[in-house]
Symmetry: D2
Subunit: 258 residues, 4 copies
């Protein structure tokens, strides 16, 4: 876990909308994952690969997860097609230390829901809303270089209540033209790994070309870098201090306390 | 959700050790669930029923969960035998509002793990340790009537690190003779329901006859009472304020922001 | 601290704007405190008194604070005129168990700032904004009976970042016409007492006549009721377990560890 | 706030016990601050200076605080002699971004208490207790290189309840021979700065020569490094979206809502 080693990032997406909807294909011709990966590859210390739903084992088999420091996840229309095994493997790796960046409709992905333990439900509307994301944590590494707010001219609306556990830190709150608000950037520690949810990114809008969205992605990956890799264990532990002898036979009451 | 209505409690346990181990049967002749239920029935405003693993649908089918305000859970040797359907139904009900009191080795039960999203692992030792639980939240309703600490003469040791998300509030920290510490009482909001983990209760010790343990159980059930019952929804929501017209065809850039 | 005893509420305000600004006097002829007190007195189990800045000891001398379960605070133009002694006494009482409800510009009051430890600064604008408060914690007792949101036709805008520690729970997020958002309802445990900040209430708008604002005030007072009254202490404590004899003279290294 | 710039550390202590108590002087001949400073100076990227109570302006006048990234604080017998002005200046700097490492009895220092807003009281005993600090956050940067626990052969006991707000993250829990537990390592975000409380360090024991204590100090300073320096402001903010015209004269109700 050297701090000077490259950060190994895997960008995962469903890669379905891009094949079915020409409007999406026009914005993300090689897939949302590839647009995001290209952005991340501009960082000299990031090693970036991609994976998608329709690959064998969803592109996450073999050593991929074990060799991933930070997993970026975009899914929407086919959450249910991810195998339970892969979802569990992602969760396990986060608990060991891997960072997990859940984007937009990944609020409903199997790994995110498993890590949160809650419904993760939202209100939503696909329309002409403008989204303004207020930076409420200007000293958090993820908001570095982001000003007091930034705007996305057109985005899907997500509204509260958002069915998540209280975040460890809340980074962004969105204002939407249509009158709603949303906790659009939030982080949680889960086991030895960090989780970052970042709201923007509906497939029919060019959100991942937006400079401040891209800045947040880069900052997010950097912040999600693991500090450790600790595998789960539930050890039987010998005492560190002397224990009393077992006196049960003679003087320990079987039932009841005075 | 009237505050004067009775609190409907279901006490669930595996009811296996009691049938196999005469030592456990001597302490809990009708099962751990029945000892706990008897304690809770002393409260005139509690309506208490019991359920156990080997009943059809684990005793939680039909309307049982829907008619349960607070579910008390003790499991240990057979977590894996609980059906995934029942585990999911318990989780769903907590997210709607039902309170969940996870006792001792229920840290590894399916519903608790699903609600936490983490490993929930611990260190452990079955020996002659004394456990002293320090009350670190003397103004929390769950510690009402508990002094600054209480002792259990002999208990299984659980040690840190405990693989849970940071609790919303930490109520008890245990000191063990053998040199360990543990976050023995902790609470989390999950969806519209509350979760309380309370550590003591190894089956070979008479812990659920202990007066302060029983006080904590009563306090816990009271605090876990639901305030609402809200079912999951993810609604498409019309705007509350006027939206701009869709100008996409003419002037919205397909790719890129300046 | 019986749960059936009345809740003793003291509503404090500066009572200055009402005397100087006819517009404010028209809305709150007997002072903001009196309008709020009248609302709270509709609850049969509330015992409500009022106090204001220009009374001797700011109306909080003698036994007033000791006999107050919940203190409601509205201040704006004269925060600096509150004596440091009174501010410290309020803080001390909260840490012992008294509830504290800080309203609107009380974000800058001495007691609230002392309890938070931070700047408590905001953005602000007095104009024609509508405020829509989204209820993001529908199962919290303070939002009981409040729907998914409510609107105030005209209010002063407060915008993020709000210079507070991360709240224990966030209850309301406001949307403002002019494009801002704000954490408008938030709670913190401080010592044995609870603190609730509730944003609305600029003196030139009739906000405390608003039915849902009044509902939140009633709910807030109820939730802020103390569970205990524990005075500060820092006791020298004898050991509960045998300690080793002091072997310092002979074998304890004075400097350095291996 | 370049990440490659040196970290400018100021180590502050009272420097009183060392002059009065030969036992303390034997352990810390140049003062506790100097022993800590020497340890920190082993890090090539740390620029370390010291300051103490009896210097003019407590050694923190002029540009010292403005040029300090991380302030390490040890105080015990003379908390009250620190001027209120200096305490306020330290608090202000933390809220702007400076890190603050409060050691041992600095739980009762003016700056720490001001940042917490609570009593910060503890139980205590000076005796022959051994302290074992359990690392409950093995992936936090502050616990890097610390194993699952470490022991201090003899330390003053601090016991719960510790009068602090719930920490953002709890890093260490101590076990004491005499039967107590304590939250010995805890962190809080306050404004734009980070605060780390670390318990060990009674002046009559050689605690700051302990290798793992020293490792925690180094890790702590690194983690406390500021990300930003943002001065307090409470700006009047023009709207970002069109506001309705002011229609008050004609149709806004002065009192009451329907």
């Amino acid at each position: 876990m050297s701090e000077t080693a490259p950060i190994r990032v895997t960008v995962w997406s469903e890669f379905r909308h891009e094949k079915k909807n020409p409007k999406v294909a026009a914005i993300y011709p090689d897939g949302i994952h590839e647009t995001i990966a290209k952005c991340l590859r501009e960082q000299p210390d990031f090693q970036v690969r991609t994976a998608w739903l329709d690959q064998p084992e969803h592109g996450l088999g073999g050593c991929v997860l074990d060799e991933t420091d930070v997993l970026v996840w975009w899914g929407h229309m086919a959450h249910g097609e991810l195998s339970d095994e892969t979802a569990a493997a992602v969760q396990r790796r986060v608990l060991e230390g891997m960072g997990f960046l859940a984007l937009h409709s990944a609020h409903y992905s199997k790994p995110f829901k498993a890590l949160m333990g809650t419904t993760c439900s939202v209100k939503w509307r696909e329309s002409t809303d403008k989204e303004r994301l207020w930076n409420i944590a200007p000293s958090h590494p993820i908001t570095r270089g982001i000003g007091e707010y930034f705007e996305i001219p057109k985005e899907e609306m997500y509204g509260e209540p958002f069915g998540i556990p209280t975040p460890d830190e809340l980074l962004f709150i969105s204002w939407f033209t249509g009158g709603e608000v949303f906790r659009s950037g939030a982080v949680w520690q889960r086991g030895h790994g960090r989780v970052f949810y970042f709201r923007p990114g509906h497939e029919t809008y060019p959100t991942y070309h937006h400079p401040q969205v891209r800045q947040v992605l880069v900052n997010g990956v950097r912040w999600l870098r693991p500090a450790v890799c600790i595998q789960d264990a539930c050890p039987n532990s010998p005492p560190l201090e002397p224990l009393p002898e077992d006196t049960e036979a003679s003087d320990r009451p079987v039932v009841g306390f005075k």
